[in-house]
Symmetry: C2
Subunit: 305 residues, 2 copies
């Protein structure tokens, strides 16, 4: 059973009231109604030593930054405004206050930069063996536009990504800039149909948009923006499609909206059109030399063998 299957199973177990939970399990954030038209969105991200970072090579300040940036990227993924975060940690036995202060430095650096204050947390420790884990839960509120979901892609939409993809594991996964401000700026210019952030690789995350929207996609390999780090890899395109932790935005919009966005976009972070939403019901990729092949979700899966 893979991650998306178990997530789907969880979603089926309880029918959530749309009046109380407008957006439930399966999107980048869940939205909860609070009455009188107010609502809040929430995301949670668990980061583990050895899986999402290596304490042998990364500093705790970098880990603190990454843990916040990962959740900020979820706020960006729905074009919502971060309002606050809580941080829970599981400390190896015998750790004291000093490592916590280092972690805190990274957390508040991100909190200050993206105006998302640290408002609370939980400190726990393993009694014997047990490795360091940090879990950030973050709240956001809708901006002027409603939160952008994963399930709204339409046949004929242009598929876009911000920045460049692949090779994040080398260094960028610890230092990336979550696209909070870019997302809010994009939805001011154009109407989006679907959006998410690329955490598990373009192929896996585009598959989530397609599957939740009931559509297919054709990716133009030649148009995929490949990062400098990915270009050093034996197969740069494979790295850009499958490696994950890019934390760039992936979104779809009508062709005339893309024309508008492309014309008016003056931000230093580039946006590339990488393909189209199709009615084939499956994901395909046109290779640089012409042939069209099936595109399989190849990103990381925490439940895969």
């Amino acid at each position: 059973m893979r991650e998306d299957e178990i997530t789907g199973w969880f979603r089926q177990q309880r029918q959530l009231s749309p009046a109380e939970v407008p957006i439930g399990i399966g999107d980048d954030m869940a939205q909860i109604a609070l009455g009188h038209g107010a609502s809040v969105l929430i995301t949670t991200d668990m980061l583990l030593d050895g899986t999402h970072f290596e304490l042998k090579t990364a500093t705790l300040e970098q880990v603190g930054y990454k843990s916040m940036a990962t959740s900020l990227s979820d706020c960006a993924a729905m074009a919502t405004i971060p309002v606050g975060a809580v941080v829970a940690v599981a400390l190896p036995h015998g750790w004291g206050g000093r490592p916590l202060k280092e972690l805190h430095a990274g957390v508040v650096f991100a909190a200050d930069k993206y105006r998302c204050p640290l408002v609370g947390g939980d400190i726990t420790s393993w009694k014997s063996d047990g490795r360091f884990a940090v879990c950030v839960s973050m709240l956001s509120k809708p901006g002027d536009k409603p939160p952008v979901r994963r399930n709204g892609a339409r046949v004929g939409d242009i598929i876009c990504v911000t920045g460049s993809l692949g090779g994040s594991g080398r260094r960028r996964h610890l230092e990336f800039e979550p696209r909070v401000n870019e997302a809010l700026k994009i939805v001011q210019i154009a109407d989006l149909h679907a959006m998410m952030d690329i955490s598990d690789g373009l192929s896996t995350d585009l598959n989530r948009i397609c599957s939740q929207s009931g559509v297919g996609a054709l990716v133009e390999a030649a148009a995929v923006p490949i990062s400098g780090d990915a270009r050093c890899r034996p197969d740069p395109l494979d790295a850009a499609l499958n490696e994950g932790e890019d934390f760039e935005l992936l979104f779809t919009l009508a062709p005339e909206q893309w024309e508008r966005l492309d014309r008016l976009w003056d931000d230093p972070v580039p946006i590339a059109s990488v393909g189209r939403i199709t009615d084939t019901g499956r994901m395909e990729i046109r290779l640089p030399d012409g042939p069209v092949r099936d595109l399989m979700p190849g990103g990381y899966d925490h439940l895969a063998d």
Copy 2:
């Protein structure tokens, strides 16, 4: 450096705007303003195998229930209404979907019982060695009355607890009923000055109320309600004062409000008056045979050696 010291240090690092964050670090939940008079509260709790439960003896369904009940108890601690929860897990390497379904059963049992839907989560896994951890983050909203904080206890207040204390580790810590409904009922009857839930033991948690309120306390040992499980211990009073994970409510209120509450309270969960808030600036306990001694915080500390 102990937990409360590092928490105090965190609190001092950033001045949070009361307009944006009416309640910040150091209470049972933080409160975030969302504009137009709306606000939401958030708590996060990390539970670890070997620290908060033992997978050798507890089922994953029990662990799922406890993880939700722990956060629900934080909602109760401020007399707020739970509105939704997210659950993040760190899975030992090689776990599949089945253990997640067992955990889910316990999570949704609590979610259904306390009308606090599971709205999302995060599934991660250790790449090699690493033990099971679960982190619940929960949102609530204020009821008719403002959230009750820890820092409002006044000299002369009566100190009360719900239920009975001690011996929770035997069985009750996996099955306890968070006092969500009782808390909302109490604030309908009486005006409280301070409240929290007892997670680390009466002595430790009362010390938090005293310290944050700038007051002292005198506990009457003979009035402390000792649980059946604690009565089997070599020192039942010590168990009731220090063992923790009782998840009962601890609150203070003016004597006339206590008279009113005591007269009108018709709930099966008992409330006991266990002492008074004093101006001594320290915690004391009157032993059953008469002498008054200092009461030291003796509960569990995750940063203690």
